[in-house]
Subunit: 232 residues, 2 copies
DNA sequence: CAGTTCATGTAAAAAGCTTTTACATGAGCC
DNA sequence: GGCTCATGTAAAAGCTTTTTACATGAACTG
């Protein structure tokens, strides 16, 4: 049977780039029908190969899923890292960007987000997945550490790790309850971004940060020159 | 073929309570293999009937799943409602109970929690599911409203609805990231309960609540005698 | 109590997915 | 040109889902 029907020109017996095509197809399918609905055979069909072909590149359906989760975390790390930008031009506004970037990723890449957090793929399915997940969280933790250093004296200062977990759970909670593409979205009196921003603001106020949004610029050079150049 | 092999005594051609048995079986299976892994045929087998029998009680696999989600929300409503107990003996401690109850439910009933929030069942799969979901959230919102009434004067007081959404997303974020039975649990420097309690405490401090845990008892009789009797 | 009815179950079958095994192809290499 | 091995295909077994026709017996009905 001819599997590569009419999708572009024939490429002959060998596909040439099947692994990539399968990853892309699976991503599309997850986006359309959810992580649960996606089918190995469907991905093969979409790539124009026989149902057995994918087994040359992935041990089974789960390995394909975890590969997508891994790729998702890689992009996630990029996005969060870019948003954080080592805390430039100042910790507070960079931090705010990270939050927005988190929600933007969940909204714009629901297929990746779904594979990463809602597909049932264990976070330690393979060492690389675990590692890249840690790196992504590491960005949130780095931001939390910089924020922790700014907590006004006289206020109880929780461990930076705990703050990072708080930020992560706030973001993930909002993303998974309200910021997804599917019909699970509840009707909100505001956007998820506004909801998260308000939540973080109240939380930071609870840590003693000044309540005025403008006061955030007053970032003291508390540590004598970290590894980051001064913002120009 | 004899479907009702050796599980207890024979009950003859008719099962007698198949719907209930299927719901129970499905719940067990979801608990063991996750919402994605659970199979309609498996539930039938576990109930001791033919693979076609479940179709007499559920339109398809999805309807069984959403029935479980609905039942889960009913229990959730009970648990949260019991914990809230109309804010007795005081708003703050009752509120704290609700948070603990939320996480306890997620941990002790992972199968229900999974069907409710991670199975891909749309929140409006049927009107009753939507309704009971709203009622459960309504408890959180009621608590948020009572808390909002206690926000000290001079502090910006966010809409109670927004506070409720914040509490929900905090709880759900922690539950779904850290408080689940499966291997997705990350290693934490503290329990999920402690994590949530700290998060809520900081948030409340951000709303102007006294930071001292003991000060919480000082709840003014702000409204002249609500519908709740005074705690004995 | 006999007879009928109807909800509830079974059997069988079609269609599709997963995964394995044996075989086919052809790209890259001596 | 001829090997060799990665990469595809075909075929098959064993699942699941879902439908259709038929079987059973519990509960009315007269």
């Amino acid at each position: 049977m001819n599997w590569r029907k009419d999708q572009g020109r024939e490429r002959g017996y060998h596909h040439g780039n099947l692994k990539e095509a399968l990853l892309q197809a699976a991503l599309d399918l997850i986006g359309q029908k959810g992580a649960a609905g996606f089918t190995f055979a469907d991905a093969a069909r979409m790539a124009g190969v026989s149902p057995a072909a994918p087994y040359r590149h992935f041990r089974d359906r789960d390995e394909l899923l975890s590969s997508i989760a891994q790729r998702g975390f890689e992009q996630f790390e990029q996005v969060l890292g870019g948003a954080w930008d080592d805390g430039r031009p100042d910790t507070m506004s960079a931090f705010e960007r990270v939050g927005k970037a988190y929600l933007a990723f969940a909204r714009e890449e629901p297929a990746y987000y779904s594979a990463m957090f809602e597909s049932g793929v264990p976070s330690d399915a393979n060492p690389q997945l675990l590692a890249v997940g840690e790196r992504a969280f590491g960005i949130i933790r780095a931001a939390a550490e910089r924020l922790a250093a700014l907590v006004p004296v006289g206020t109880p200062r929780p461990p930076a790790m705990m703050m990072a977990l708080h930020f992560w759970s706030m973001s993930h909670g909002i993303a998974s309850l309200f910021s997804r593409g599917d019909a699970a979205r509840r009707k909100l009196p505001m956007t998820p971004e506004e909801l998260l921003e308000a939540e973080v603001l109240i939380y930071l106020r609870g840590l003693g940060f000044p309540t005025d949004r403008r006061a955030e610029a007053a970032e003291p050079q508390d540590k004598p020159a970290g590894p980051w150049g001064k913002p120009k």
